[in-house]
């Protein structure tokens, strides 16, 4: 799978992880261009439908990065995200999407290095898993 270049979509929250990514940028910490960011105000805004749409439209891996527990700008949006996505992950595995293609994690505004590491590790992990093949998403068999 040496030539497989996965696409990773990361949903990042305005106050913590987006700022952490900006800080990584400011410090010129390189990370794979496979990871493309989408800004939301809070990880608690991230709808499972977004993640599913990302997988459907071509993402091989998806991340939701929020504030550390206790630090959410909106009190506990990150905890809601944690609860929603833990249920969501159980369903993903039933749909045959390998563990490791979806990740929920915490990155604060000051954690430039952690952002770099998270982005890099995710790209490496998904590279090993190969391209995403969705069950029930088979090309048409009969014209």
């Amino acid at each position: 799978m040496d030539d497989f270049n996965p696409t990773i979509i990361a949903f990042v929250c305005n106050w913590c992880s987006y700022a952490g990514a900006d800080k990584a940028g400011g410090q010129k910490l390189q990370y794979p261009s496979n990871v493309k960011l989408l800004r939301v105000m809070c990880s608690g805004r991230v709808d499972p439908q977004f993640v599913m749409r990302a997988f459907r439209d071509g993402a091989d891996g998806v991340m939701v990065l929020g504030c550390h527990p206790g630090d959410c700008h909106y009190r506990n949006g990150n905890m809601k995200a944690l609860r929603r996505f833990r249920l969501f992950e159980r369903m993903l595995s039933q749909m045959g999407i390998e563990k490791g293609r979806f990740k929920l994690d915490w990155v604060s505004a000051g954690e430039a290095k952690r952002f770099q590491e998270t982005a890099t590790e995710m790209t490496d992990a998904v590279k090993k898993l190969g391209p995403l093949h969705l069950r029930g998403m088979v090309e048409r068999e009969v014209a």
Partner: protein, 324 residues
Amino acid sequence: MAQKPKVAFYWCASCGGCEETIVDLEEKVLDVAAAVDIIFWPCAMDFKYSDIEAMADGSIAVSFVNGAVRTSEQEHIARLLRKKSGLVVAFGDCAWMGGIPALTNLKSKKEVFNRSYCESPTVVNPEKIVPLENSVYQGVPMLLPKFYETVYKLDDCIDVDYYLPGCPPTVKLVLNAVTAILAGTLPRRKSVLAPDKALCSSCDRNETKPDSMVIKEFKRVHQVVADPKTCFLAQGIVCMGPATRDGCDYPCVKGNMPCTGCFGPVDGADQGARMIAALGGIIDAEEEKGIDRVLSGIPDPAGTFYRYGLAASLLGSKRKEKAQ
């Protein structure tokens, strides 16, 4: 038009329940039969495929097609009926969203065959014989339609004009649809013929739901006898009502069983994803272990939240953009 409008009924991958709903119309079925000319109904009448092939394109006023599409025969007839019909109505959840058959999209065709024909407890098949598309028996070639890898919903194969939700659609819904068709008062094309609002809006248990509801534990219907007056979710029992369309008069809830979601999602929503987001948000636990403990009360999320609509899910339907 002096002639009565021509109407066809067809069943694809179906359990026959949608046919039974027509029977449930009781004496009203006679009114329907009087108003239309049923020219095709494999379940009840002796018309042949060749009869349909012989008809002029568009000459069937309405085709009601129920069942999901899993074989080449079903796809073929669906396409044929589309060609010959003015309107095609996806009748019931299987045609609209894949229905319960679509849950097999969680497995491969190989696994499905293996289970049904080899491993099922009541099956004795030591040679592991499975159906084949092409075989020969006593010199005679035996052909079976192709069995697809995936369960498709009807509009994955053909253009569908209207959708009737339900497993099966209720009598009231069917009568309303037939009346609208005959009177020419159907809404915008591609509409689902049920209110675009969740069940809680008409459920009489909704007022017992507290404003700040949290769930500490999920209970399943076989573990507890539900209080017949209180909202199921408030009792920790999963009820799909909040993520399911209104319009069925909720006989399940009236029978003290929670809604399982057969009227499908409102416009623009992925039913399972919305329910996961809604339930996840109100779980009363703060860290992984506690959350997992609560979630262990839902052992089969896909089956619970996509019971009727996996093929319509964002992750369960074919990439139409690519296939086109």
